[in-house]
């Protein structure tokens, strides 16, 4: 009998290993705060040897030269006289740089709180000629946020990286959705405290504005006549560039909505925001006048314009916008600039930047590639070609060469035949992750 009792007790040996072993592996975006002294940022900028693309941002074309922003790091300069073989010339290290624009031989670039003017008459030896404060003391770049503190003379910035961490957990999971409480909760724990709050809370993060260019739809810099227009989140800042080398700060126009992009067309400025589109009259370039504000559901939306139609892409998913918003390409009738109206909506997956060289419309779809439309009748867009295997955020159609930029680099296509685009070259981006 004793033997049985011993046998029954035998499983107790396992008691020491009766603890659950659970490991959670999570890959997430990690933000590390970074502090920079303004004096370090204001070191004179000059050309450095070419570097490979890591996180390509906006794109700008001036003559034979191609400028690709390396987000918050600087600008890659390419000689693109032969689109089939772009040649890297130099790299301009500009901390905090996101946007660029060129007037004559002067390149304007933002560097956190400053607007830097650079002389590019010799692209191999670019040098700084001027620097003024934009008046913007904070900003958002992608998902990160920076601000400037006058007292400490420091820029507080964030570094974003993708981190993977494995932690031991209690085997009860963490919830991204409402927990299941009945009837089995008795056997475990309740998860009432935090999960019920903010059911609809969507992680609010900055609108991404990755790329731009001449006529690029995702630019935040625009030049018309003698004015440089710079938009930040909530305002439009004017700079008089009658003398290109010395930009003079002009008027500031407050905009209420989250501004993302600015697109100049003829005597108008089309400002894309997360909640709609502003139309400004710049007949008098120094005194922009609001003509109308066209609102729609909250989403990301660059704008391009041709004749009487504006093309707006609304991307409801991911970083900007409300979950559940549809992804569409809207054609807005702007024959009456004071009363724009949606003429037609086309459903389109994850549209980003777009470009038009009438009658061809190019729409980037992020990871989903690039679509080419025949826009000879804007009310009846026809898909001509789609590229699923490219990653495209913005495009510039420029004299039969299409430049598209995305996470994996810059592609150049020959679109003399819009039905069959031909890949000319690709500049690879070295993916950080």
């Amino acid at each position: 009998m004793k033997a049985y009792i011993l046998l029954l007790l035998l499983p107790l040996v396992y008691l020491t290993s009766c603890t659950d072993n659970c490991e959670q592996t999570r890959t997430y975006r990690k933000y590390t705060s970074v502090q920079l002294f303004i004096s370090d940022i204001r070191q004179p900028i000059s050309s450095a040897p070419p570097q490979s693309l890591v996180e390509p941002g906006k794109l700008y074309v001036k003559g034979q030269y191609l400028f690709i922003v390396e987000v918050k790091k600087g600008i890659h300069v390419f000689d693109n006289s032969n689109p089939a073989n772009p040649r890297a010339i130099s790299f301009l290290p500009i901390p905090g740089n996101v946007d660029i624009a060129v007037r004559d031989n002067i390149l304007y670039a933002d560097s956190y709180i400053d607007l830097v003017a650079l002389d590019i008459s010799n692209p191999t030896a670019i040098k700084e000629v001027n620097r003024t404060e934009t008046g913007f003391t904070n900003g958002r770049v992608g998902r990160t946020y920076w601000s400037y503190d006058k007292q400490t003379m420091k820029i507080y910035d964030q570094r974003e990286e993708i981190a993977t961490e494995t932690v031991k957990t209690d085997c009860e999971g963490t919830f991204n959705v409402l927990p299941y409480l009945v009837p089995i909760a008795w056997f475990g724990r309740y998860y009432e405290s935090f999960a019920f709050a903010d059911v609809a809370y969507n992680s609010v993060s900055a609108p991404t504005a990755p790329t731009t260019g001449t006529g690029g739809s995702m630019a935040r810099f625009a030049i018309t006549s003698n004015q440089l227009y710079v938009v930040n989140n909530s305002s439009l800042q004017l700079f008089d560039i009658t003398d290109p080398a010395t930009p003079v700060k002009g008027k500031t126009v407050n905009l209420n909505w989250n501004v993302e992009t600015i697109f100049p067309y003829r005597t108008n400025l089309f400002i894309g925001t997360t909640t709609g589109m502003y139309i400004y009259d710049v007949v008098n370039p120094a005194e922009p006048k609001q003509l109308s504000a066209f609102s729609h559901v909250r989403s990301c939306d660059p704008v391009v314009v041709h004749e009487n139609y504006a093309y707006v892409t609304l991307r409801g998913t991911s970083t900007c916008g409300v979950a559940g918003t549809q992804d569409v390409l809207d054609v807005v009738d702007i024959s009456n600039l004071t009363a724009p109206r949606v003429a037609k909506s086309y459903p389109l997956e994850t549209p980003y930047g777009l470009g038009i060289d009438y009658p061809t419309l190019f729409v980037c779809q992020g990871n989903k590639g690039l679509s080419v439309f025949d826009a000879s009748n804007p009310l009846d867009l026809k898909v001509q070609q789609t590229f699923a295997n490219v990653n495209a955020f913005d495009v510039i159609p420029l004299s039969k060469t299409l430049l598209t930029i995305g996470k994996d680099g810059l592609y150049q296509y020959d679109y003399s035949n819009p039905v069959a685009l031909r890949l000319l070259s690709k500049i690879d981006a070295r993916q950080p992750n």
Partner: protein, 212 residues
């Protein structure tokens, strides 16, 4: 309340035993056991060092960014276990084990290949037996819905059968159970790109029931 439960169990048992006794006592090659009990184990505490830590809360990069720190604790769950087997010899009965197991807040439905057998070849009033099973459990009702997938399980155990003498008996058993599972959490794809939790539950079980 408790007394009613006891009475119910008592009458229930008497009826089923009485029923079994009236049957013709021809030993069947098939054996079915139905058992119910508890399984007990421990969970580890949350690790506050893994993520930024604020007071009693840790900051998680997900929708509900703050989560309270959960301490270590004991967990007891219900287990229902059935075995249907064919007697090759009294020492070796092969068959299939099915049931329901609760681990913390998640239920699993195990489907396992199982063997049972009498120990020491003794078929007296008290017969000790062993059981061994290995298989797969599918996830049952749980807070993660389809995100939670079941996994491999194995479970050794020992028990004691009190024979009625007509092929039926009353059982008590105890043992160990290892159950694996995997939770692939839905993520927003922006702040959190992927979140996978590999779980392995380790439990001691104590069950009682019938064999017929």
């Amino acid at each position: 309340m408790k007394i009613f439960t006891h009475l119910f169990l008592f009458f229930g048992l008497s009826v089923s035993f009485a029923h079994a006794q009236t049957e013709q006592t021809k030993p069947s090659r098939w054996r079915t056991t139905v058992q119910m009990g508890i399984q007990a184990g421990r969970v580890r505490p949350d690790q506050p060092t893994a993520y930024p830590y604020y007071g009693d809360y840790i900051y998680l990069p997900n929708y509900y960014n703050y989560s309270s720190i959960r301490p270590a604790g004991n967990r007891i769950g219900l287990t229902i276990h059935t075995f249907i087997g064919y007697t090759l010899r009294p020492q070796l009965i092969t068959g299939l084990a099915l049931g329901v197991d609760y681990y913390n807040n998640s239920a699993f439905l195990p489907i396992a290949a199982a063997i049972q057998g009498d120990l020491f070849g003794r078929t007296k009033r008290l017969t000790p037996f062993y059981s061994l099973e290995s298989g797969y459990a599918i996830a049952g009702p749980n807070p993660h819905d389809n995100e939670l997938k079941g996994g491999w399980l194995w479970s050794p155990g020992l028990g004691l059968r009190i024979n009625k003498g007509n092929g039926t008996g009353f059982l008590i058993s105890a043992g160990y159970k290892h159950q694996e599972a995997r939770q692939v959490a839905s993520v927003d794809g922006v702040q959190v790109l992927s979140q996978i939790e590999n779980r392995s539950y380790n439990r001691l079980f104590f069950r009682m029931g019938f064999s017929f």
